[in-house]
């Protein structure tokens, strides 16, 4: 384990194992007990993908139910109201707590963060492995609840419904699972913060960090500060449910609105845990595929920090109709607009980066461009919700559902982009560019078809979490469901493209896209200890040193970035 006392002199000079990390050892045990951040990252990626599929299946079940308006009147429906309520709960809980929150940081952050720093591993590799197993355990518990009276509270677990006597006993499992997932998240965050502080290459100043690391760093700060609040809240929930001690349930002398405050005190910052890493990846991809220095590095870096901090003081905007006082509503509405500014800054900076660039429309860039569109809509519709008078009308309708899917699925789009971007580095193979592009286009079309109609039906009054609904909304629901099937098709193509590349893909060059950040200056895939030599830190967004070499189908550094010895 790297130590904190000697950050400046990691042992690059000693002889290193030059085999790539995939081939350094074999067998399941070599993976399950690995301390290598790259393997842990890959295991996260596999786990998160599997859970994403499961969450997606629940979503398709929900959308299929909603093809029909009067489900409640149907005789013996295949999917009953009880089942439907469980489906949307599981969909939400899986996607939020198990997929998106760990998604980019734990899977891709783990893989690239130490390499971007020129380090051999994260600061605490054992803690890193532990946090992976916490993720596994939390996930397993949450899924086990399926067999013990599946939870139907929605991912928000609002009291008193969630703690009333008849709430399913699966609640305890799900909530314990979320509690443990929280620990996993805190451990990862701590690890990343310490790593960024202690294991940077000499000469790699804060303002020479790739912006992805600023984003991961800000995310980690939120993870560490906000997650414990969720932990305590979930613990209180379990205590209330099992011992009938009154915190949130008025039947035992508690206050249900208090729960909402606690919950959103975590869950609003959590939406930035989800989006900030995506914004970080965006800054990498946009700059690399425009072959142009990122525009306004400092504004982007500080806006990550600003978002992280402002994110803590706006939680009450989820509670404008909860019975919270008018004064509180007013304050929270005003504060909410403060987060909108740094988000807008980033979008303008990405566009300015593209201006007069040399733009290559390869798959990662396509996903990045889709993100600008998707996040544009997601962020702008946030304004309707931050404004008091309009939110009263829109709250808890499909408008909100559409809003948060636009932002959160924005993150998923960037996650996909990031997977394609780092795929050659992770597995040493190129995927098929055409298949990748087709999948991304299908996903983009399907996504918009699914969620644009939801804005309209929502503002027309369609409430969320409805199993049956008035017939006037059916057109929109049908469009939306069709969109979800298109997305499913896109996912299949993407899965096919990536899987087949592992066997049939062309061998990846070290630097296929022409990035100057350190992970592209080592082999694809990287050796066990990341570099066969000592990496030299430089401005990660300066591309003058790189030129296209058709022979290797990749970029070559004119001046070497890794010195031997």
């Amino acid at each position: 384990m790297s130590t904190l006392n000697a950050p400046a002199a990691p042992a690059y000079a000693t002889a290193v194992d030059t085999r790539n990390y995939l081939k350094a050892s074999y067998g399941p045990v070599s993976w399950l007990l690995t301390l290598d951040h790259k393997r842990i990252g890959v295991m996260y990626l596999v786990g998160i993908s599997v859970m994403f599929l499961l969450g997606g299946i629940f979503a398709l079940l929900v959308r299929t139910t909603l093809l029909f308006a009067n489900n409640a009147e149907a005789v013996d429906p295949l999917i009953t109201a009880e089942l439907y309520n469980r489906f949307f709960t599981l969909h939400g809980a899986i996607m939020v707590f198990i997929v998106i929150i760990p998604g980019i940081p734990a899977a891709l952050g783990n893989f690239v963060l130490p390499i971007m720093l020129g380090a051999k591993d994260v600061a605490f590799p054992r803690v890193n492995l532990l946090s992976f197993y916490m993720w596994m355990l939390g996930t397993a518990l949450a899924l086990a609840s399926l067999f013990f009276g599946a939870v139907d509270t929605g991912w928000t677990f609002y009291t008193p419904y969630s703690t009333s006597e008849n709430s399913p006993s699966g609640m305890i499992l799900v909530v314990t699972g979320a509690f443990i997932l929280g620990f996993s998240s805190v451990f990862t965050g701590l690890n990343f913060i310490v790593t960024i502080h202690q294991l940077r290459r000499p000469g790699q100043t804060w303002f020479r960090l790739p912006l992805f690391l600023w984003a991961i760093y800000s995310t980690a700060v939120i993870q560490i500060l906000a997650t414990p609040v969720l932990g305590i809240t979930l613990l209180l929930l379990i205590v209330e449910k099992t011992m009938k001690m009154g915190f949130f349930n008025p039947a035992y002398g508690g206050d249900p609105v208090l729960f909402q405050h606690f919950f959103w005190f975590y869950s609003h910052p959590a939406v930035y845990i989800m989006i900030l890493p995506a914004m970080g990846v965006m800054s990498e991809i946009i700059s690399v595929f425009s072959r142009k220095h990122i525009f306004g590095y400092r504004f982007i870096a500080w806006s990550s920090v600003a978002i992280a901090l402002f994110g803590f003081i706006v939680w009450g905007h989820h509670m404008f109709t909860s019975g919270q006082s008018a004064l509180m509503n007013t304050i929270f509405s005003a504060l909410t607009f403060s987060v909108a500014v740094p988000s807008a800054i980033k979008v303008f900076n990405w566009l300015a980066t593209m201006y007069k660039g040399s733009i290559a429309l390869q798959t990662p860039m396509l996903y990045a461009l889709w993100f600008i569109w998707i996040f544009g809509i997601g962020g702008l519709t946030g304004l309707f919700l931050g404004t008091l008078a309009t939110d009263i009308h829109l709250h808890d309708t499909y408008f909100v559902v559409a809003h948060f899917h636009y932002v959160m699925a924005g993150t998923i789009f960037v996650l996909f982009g990031a997977i394609h971007y780092w795929w050659p580095k992770m597995f040493g193979r190129m995927y098929d560019e055409r298949q990748g592009a087709i999948a991304s286009i299908l996903l983009f079309i399907g996504f918009n078809l699914t969620f644009l109609p939801q804005f309209v039906m929502g503002s027309q009054g369609m409430p969320r979490r409805y199993y049956s609904y008035d017939e006037v909304y059916q057109v929109y629901h049908v469009l939306s469901s069709v969109g979800s099937y298109v997305m499913a098709a896109g996912l299949l193509v993407m899965g096919y493209c990536l899987f087949t590349s592992l066997k049939r893909g062309a061998k990846a060059p070290d630097n296929p896209w022409g990035s100057n950040s350190l992970e592209w200056h080592t082999t694809s895939p990287p050796p066990l200890e990341n570099f066969n030599g000592t990496p030299v830190a430089d401005d990660p967004y300066d591309y003058h040193n790189l030129e296209w070499d058709p022979q290797i189908q990749g970029f070559r550094s004119k001046k070497p970035m890794v010195t031997s010895g």
């Binding site: 008193p160 009333s164 249900p256 220095h293 019975g323 607009f337 909108a340 593209m354 027309q460 979490r465």
Partner: protein, 352 residues
């Protein structure tokens, strides 16, 4: 399904907003469309630039390198931070002002009490009348004082643009004024928008706006049992048919079993108890009268007046085997006369 497609235009509001039914609807809509226009302009700007750059600055073998290498421009960046902020301030202030109008009821508002429970609404008027649909006079400010018997609910009337959570353990309040009476077949819709369990999506009713002058008469006749003297009530129970014929002034009065059947729906029994023998959240009412129920504690009980009364007011006291203690007690939310009517109805469901 084809019916649904022809109803596309049926919102009879505007593209993004439903019909305007209250005095605040128009101001909410103006604000909504103001934000909409700003968003549309920004979105067009962002996507426009994006597409333009994609096309014009596309990488080709001839054009491998960028044609500019600016890395920042502090003035420009400050400009695009500050200018949108000004628009945001405007949005906030406007939103706040309309919100104040929505939030502060006029002093003289007409008060209706609202009881929400899983999964029904009950609206109680000053004279004690209780209804399941909300009926209000046009042009009069209405204040709803709301409470919940169990979990969170939320009262939402899209056409009025109002929404307020109903929270157990405290009162919440919402007010509105509907200027226009609703046409016969086109009431406003009222939804529960805070997820409240299995039948959340069935917790929706209509809002009927009557001309101001018709409202008092409606209210007087809405519940024939209200204001019936004890003597009249005795006569009615003793021989309903004769009493109804003799007293046409009790508009809408029907035999107890019929009144009870209506209460079965209105009070929300229907969401957990079937009358066709199927098991649901609670035991079926088919053949319930005189049946012997096996209880969770191993004893048993014959279904009679006292058992029914106790099961309504304090359902947990005697739990039928195989069912959870999930029914919300009706203590304080049902009148004795209503229990009488329900009993009369259950009698008609006696086992054959």
């Amino acid at each position: 399904m084809s019916r649904a497609f022809t109803t596309l235009a049926q919102f009879d509001g505007t593209f993004m907003m439903p019909k305007q039914g209250s005095t605040v609807s128009a101001s909410v809509d103006s604000l909504f469309y103001f934000i909409f226009v700003i968003c549309a302009v920004f979105f067009a700007l962002i996507v426009g630039l994006m597409v333009w750059f994609m096309v014009v600055y596309r990488r080709t073998p001839q054009r491998m390198d960028p044609t500019s290498n600016v890395t920042h421009n502090t003035r420009l960046e400050l400009l695009w931070s500050v200018f949108p902020s000004l628009l945001l301030v405007l949005m906030f202030v406007w939103g706040f002002r309309v919100f104040v109008d929505m939030r502060v009821p006029p002093e003289d508002a007409y008060v209706i009490n609202v009881n929400a429970q899983q999964w029904s609404w009950a609206f109680t008027y000053p004279n004690g009348t209780e209804t399941e649909d909300l009926t209000v006079p046009a042009g009069v400010p209405i204040k709803l004082v709301m409470q919940s018997a169990d979990v969170l609910h939320s009262l939402y009337i899209p056409n009025f643009r109002v929404k307020q959570d109903v929270v157990p353990g405290r009162y919440t309040m919402v007010w509105f004024e509907a200027p226009e009476p609703t046409p016969e077949n086109k009431p406003h819709r009222l939804f529960c928008t805070e997820y409240c369990g299995k039948d959340h999506s069935n917790m929706n009713r209509n809002v009927i706006v009557l001309p101001k002058e018709d409202f008092p008469e409606w209210l007087e006749n809405a519940d024939p049992l209200i204001g019936m003297t004890p003597e009249h009530y005795q006569e009615y129970v003793a021989d309903p048919q004769a009493f109804i014929t003799a007293h046409p002034e009790y508009v809408g009065l029907m035999p107890p079993a019929v009144m009870g059947e209506r209460l079965y729906t209105k009070k929300g029994c229907v969401s957990c108890h079937t009358v066709d023998g199927k098991a649901n959240t609670g035991p079926t009412f088919q053949g319930i009268w005189g049946r012997t129920e096996e209880l969770a504690d191993g004893s048993s009980v014959k279904v009679d007046e006292n058992y029914v009364r106790e099961s309504i007011l304090n359902p947990g006291a005697k739990l039928v085997k195989g069912y959870g203690n999930v029914m919300t007690p009706y203590q304080g939310r049902i009148k004795d006369r209503e229990i009488d009517m329900l009993i009369a109805y259950l009698r008609t469901l006696a086992s054959k």
